[in-house]
């Protein structure tokens, strides 16, 4: 079929241009969702993502009257030969005060390993009020063959934690970093 005459042909050209623009824009939008998603999670605390950065250590009023239970969970994501567990599984804290607890990790293999712990807080909205000033999850952790060590986390719960939240669970998943002694 030969192309239609100018009037219809111009319309068809316009339709093609506009629809192609939509196609390109939507392909870009799919990728734009990646940073948008991260920003949204950081700002709103959805999804339990905690701040990667070191929290502000300025003093806060301590709420002695309130007790919040903090639970610790450690898991290993793949079949990497890690041993990984919290020293204590739950502590009671007062909002506003700093606490330090330890996780223990050991490389059970004969080769050096490097890993990264990825934190997650449940319920998700509590992650906005969970501040870490020191954490082994801030850095990659390297282990010689058979090496095991205690790794500290220092954190506090913001007194602004919503009143209905009585228990906060901090979970770490340990990932082997590919291509780095793994």
């Amino acid at each position: 079929m030969s192309p239609p005459v100018p009037a219809a042909a111009a319309g068809v050209q316009r339709s093609i241009r506009r629809t192609l623009l939509v196609v390109v824009a939507m392909f870009g939008f799919g990728f734009a969702l990646v940073p948008l998603y991260d920003v949204l999670c950081q700002v709103t605390g959805l999804n339990g993502k905690t701040r990667a950065a070191v929290a502000d250590a300025a003093p806060m009023p301590v709420d002695e009257a309130r007790t919040v239970i903090v639970e610790f969970i450690a898991s290993v994501n793949d079949e990497a030969p890690w041993e990984f567990r919290p020293d204590v599984t739950r502590i009671e804290v007062h909002p506003g005060r700093f606490y330090t607890t330890h996780f223990y990790a050991r490389n059970r293999s004969e080769t050096p390993l490097a890993g990264q712990a990825v934190p997650s807080v449940a319920p998700g909205l509590a992650s906005l009020h969970f501040h870490k000033i020191e954490c082994f999850c801030f850095n990659q952790q390297r282990f010689a063959p058979g090496e095991g060590r205690e790794m500290p986390v220092t954190f506090r719960i913001d007194p602004q934690l919503p009143a209905e939240v009585g228990t906060v669970t901090l979970s770490y998943t340990f990932f082997r970093l590919p291509g780095q002694g793994g």
Partner: protein, 539 residues
Amino acid sequence: MTATTAGHDAVHDGHDHGHEHAPPRGLWRWLSTTNHKDIGTMYLVLSLTMFFIGGAMALVIRAELFRPGLQLVEPMFFNQMTTMHALVMIFGAVMPAFVGLANWLIPMMVGAPDMALPRMNNWSFWIMPFAFALLLSTLFMDGGGPAGGWTLYPPLSLQTGAAFPFVILSIHMMGVSSVMGAINIIATILNLRAPGMTLMRMPLFVWTWLITAYLLIAVMPVLAGAVTMLLTDKYFGTSFFNAAGGGDPVMFQHIFWFFGHPEVYIMILPAFGIVSQIIPTFARKPLFGYASMVYATASIAFLSFIVWGHHMFTVGMPLAGELFFMYATMLIAVPTGVKVFNWISTMWRGSMTFETPMLFAIAFVVLFTIGGFSGLMLAIAPADFQYQDTYFVVAHFHYVLVPGAVFSIMAAAYYWLPKWTGHMYDEKLGRLHFWCSAIGVNILFFPQHFLGLAGMPRRIPDYALQFAEFNMISSIGAFIFGFSQLIFLWVVIKCVRGGEPAPAKPWEGAHGLEWTVPSPAPHHTFQTPPQITEAEAHS
């Protein structure tokens, strides 16, 4: 309108085949054709082929589930069957069937001589056989085909073997084909309508396809992006969905369902259009509430973009998110209810007859509504925690897709076969096919509601003993439904090869431009555009 008229005349004069010349014969005709009717036929044949391939996979699944325990296939192969059945049926059977119908009917319904971009049309089609050859070939590769579900959630889907890049490439090819088809349909509807065919005089099938085409160009690129990210995560060391590198597997679900929910409307809006053509014909009354049908379709399309979260209520969404997605999803029931109301009102006090297309259309209204109601149940966020990933979900989406989308395609085939072939189909066999299908499909899918409510998970090759009876009933229904489709195949072959000659308008109550041309429709129609008046459009 003068400009448009001039446009059509020029199309007429400039056509290089000449009007009444027979098309070239043999394989070359089909490889090189730019004729919308030829391309429509090829899409429909491809779709029917894929329907039987995907159906055979479904029968493997149902045969394995006939009894508890593992008897016929390996669990890994079973998982490949569930994944491939979905991919083949969605991208290979339902979508190409609607595109085939669009190719055949939209130019004739709007009074255009052909699609706006006939050469691209040829290309859109011929990508498809290659895409599916690639997809199906993965079943024979090391590690087998994809087995992590058609939704391709990472990290599971990233464990696919050698098949993985082939699956991604075939999805890209299907996406390119769909997007080109959609651009063509938009360009045709917006620019090649005959004089007097204003937007609000267009047949509803054209309207629903226009809106569907916009959904396609909006979401197929998002799917392309999502699968590209999977590909780079697996082979190029990116961490879009890998938590170790700062990514998040849940994000895939968000991106996927941002595509996935509009996708389910891509598979049902054209069905709404078909049923809105057929019911008025056999009720011998104009469609009740034409304008409200158009607005309802547009509302459904808009809402489809903001409800994706209801597929992932259990990922740990905050309460506000669950409430938003729950209410937004329930809102879709309003325009859908308008449609069902309009179809029933069209039949109200009509002079109804029950030829095969009408039987399928009425079954569509009833059974699709059942699927809609189970969808409402799933939309209730607190209840969804119980239903998530059970057979209740399987029953729900098969009710909307099989007696929904597939029945509408069957109805369309029976309705327009006389126009396509020039012969009437065998009405007795058609009705036999309908009753076997309608009874079979309910025996097949209704018990799955009970299985799901009792807690049977989906995508498992073996199950606990208390699920045995309903699974056996469901499998029996599957074999009734599956084999009764051979009747359809026979009816189509018989109708193509001969039969009682069909008049230009074989249905007494039919309206629309496609019934003004002879049957079978000549190779070229509306070289000179018709003039449409208000009375003709909505009589």
